[in-house]
């Protein structure tokens, strides 16, 4: 008997440019984008740059409850309308373009807290119409937070809070490894809200520092942090989180982020030339990650970003 060959499974591996167009078009339907990682750890910055280069506009940006460099860059590039992130900071200093844009009224930054964002993602991931919250008291954030409301608790009778589902149209994640089907392996210690976002979102695009063979995944399934089921596209982008960290591959590039923030501070006081040149050099001009790596001094320069071994 002539037997058919086993049919072929589609790979989810795509290019950075195609991923950006996929995301941009989806965000034109509904502008809610969510970014994985936390502050200077595990942020999908290469995808963010590609999205900016593809001309995304008027975005509503969500994240795990803390973000900094990437949201500031998105604002500097003029792509953001509203920010739904509780904490926006470079940690050692403020985010200059975020500050300017909010102070000038160009961007609306909502007052939120971590439990509202996480609870909203939980409601979406769980498929329920809301998540109860019972740990918010006394903060002025409660007077302004647009996502929560007070409800009468059917069990305790008390007034508590509730948040409806937060369902990002597109989520960008960065992981260290994936197979070609999109099973993501995080080798970093923390995985932040990345699993949760993947489960809560309409479309999920992941960058990874490297694609690994199928067997790496099959031989150790409990190491997979985000199953391929939740992933729509995966892009192999070496140093894809730069200038944020991707443990154990590379640490955050504090020097780069500080230099960027200096340009942002200069722009606050009227001198935008440096910031514009930064965006041109790092966002607009590169047509590939190889170009970007060259623009930031080449792989030899990036090799200095040692993750400082676990056993130090």
């Amino acid at each position: 008997m002539e037997r058919k060959k086993k049919p072929t499974r589609h790979s989810k591996v795509t290019s950075l440019g195609d991923a950006a167009i996929l995301a941009r078009n989806a965000l034109r339907e509904r502008p809610e984008i969510c970014l994985g990682g936390l502050f200077k750890q595990g942020r999908p910055v290469a995808l963010v740059r590609a999205l900016l280069a593809a001309g995304a506009k008027d975005l509503h940006v969500y994240s795990s409850p803390g973000a900094g460099y990437d949201i500031d860059l998105m604002i500097a590039a003029g792509a953001v309308e509203q920010v739904f992130i509780p904490g926006v900071t470079l940690e050692n200093r403020l985010c200059p373009n975020f500050r300017s844009a909010v102070e000038s009224g160009q961007v609306t930054a909502h007052a939120l807290d971590a439990l509202t964002v996480v609870g909203g993602l939980m409601a979406s991931a769980h498929g329920v119409p809301f998540q109860p919250i019972d740990a918010l008291r006394g903060s002025d954030v409660l007077k302004h937070n647009p996502l929560i409301r007070e409800i009468d608790c059917p069990f305790s009778g008390r007034r508590i809070h509730a948040v409806g589902p937060i369902r990002p149209r597109v989520t960008f994640l960065h992981a260290q490894e994936a197979d070609r089907w999109g099973n993501l392996r995080y080798l970093s210690t923390m995985v932040y809200a990345d699993q949760l976002m993947a489960r809560a979102s309409d479309m999920v695009i992941a960058s990874v520092d490297r694609i690994v063979p199928d067997d790496v995944i099959l031989d150790d399934p409990s190491r997979v942090t985000v199953p391929a089921h939740y992933i729509d596209a995966v892009v192999e982008v070496p140093y894809g989180a730069h200038p944020t960290a991707s443990f154990p591959g590379y640490a955050m590039d504090e020097e780069h982020i500080d230099a960027y923030a200096d340009l942002g501070d200069a722009a606050r006081t009227g001198d935008r030339a440096g910031l514009d040149a930064y965006i041109a050099r790092h966002v607009t001009a590169p047509t590939s990650q190889e170009d970007y790596i060259k623009a930031v001094g080449g792989a030899d320069n990036l090799a200095r970003l040692k993750p400082e071994a676990r056993t130090e």
Partner: protein, 255 residues
Amino acid sequence: MSAAFSPLEQMVVVLARDLADGELGAAGAAALVPMAAIALARELHAPNMTVGGEMFFNPEPGHLYPSMLDDRALGRCEAAETFIELFGHSHHGLDFFFHSGLQHDAYGNINLHHVGGTLHAPKMRGPGAANLSYCHTSTRFYICPTVHTARNFVEKVDFITIPGHLSGPEAKRAAGLTKEGPRFVVTPRAVMDFDPATLRMRLKSVHAGHTAEEVQRHTGFDLGIRGDVPQTPAPTEEELTVLRERVDKTGTLRI
């Protein structure tokens, strides 16, 4: 008399002494001084303390990092969690937590959102804050900014990001804040606590090399100074040795 020590080392030692064995706590966002205090307490008298509630447990960093949200600091720890587990901890509360802000007021309220203007038309927009729950679900918290001036210690904050004692016992009760709230305010100049009757901040002790008059001058509200103010007990030789040899090996607290 102990060796010379830095203002941050003094802060660390004051905080470490107040953390008890067996407690569960976390460092908050401005983590350098709190993480050092926690690590010192674990070395000296609190081996059964658990550092948790911020998505990792009991980190053993090679040296002090300014942020704990750094895998270089977390590469060695006992376990990692995610924001879902943090959601639970935020409700169940910790034993202790740490905060600091752009402005701190006479009742220990903290502002991280804006100075001047309004939230959506601010004169100066701050970073905001992720976690607003540990300040009142936890047994207590500490306020520990690394600067202390009349600009960041003001009578009334422009925006209450982190509630301290609000405007006193009645307001706190009305808002459902049932825990201790801020216990101490530790700065490079002094230690403040709160009057149990009014919950207003008052000067508790001044660090070596500082005076009550100076602290008051750098504070935007009355610190209720009556008579002599005690000196903050300096770090002991043991505290300093352990701090430098086992916690802050690279001297970050002395820069």
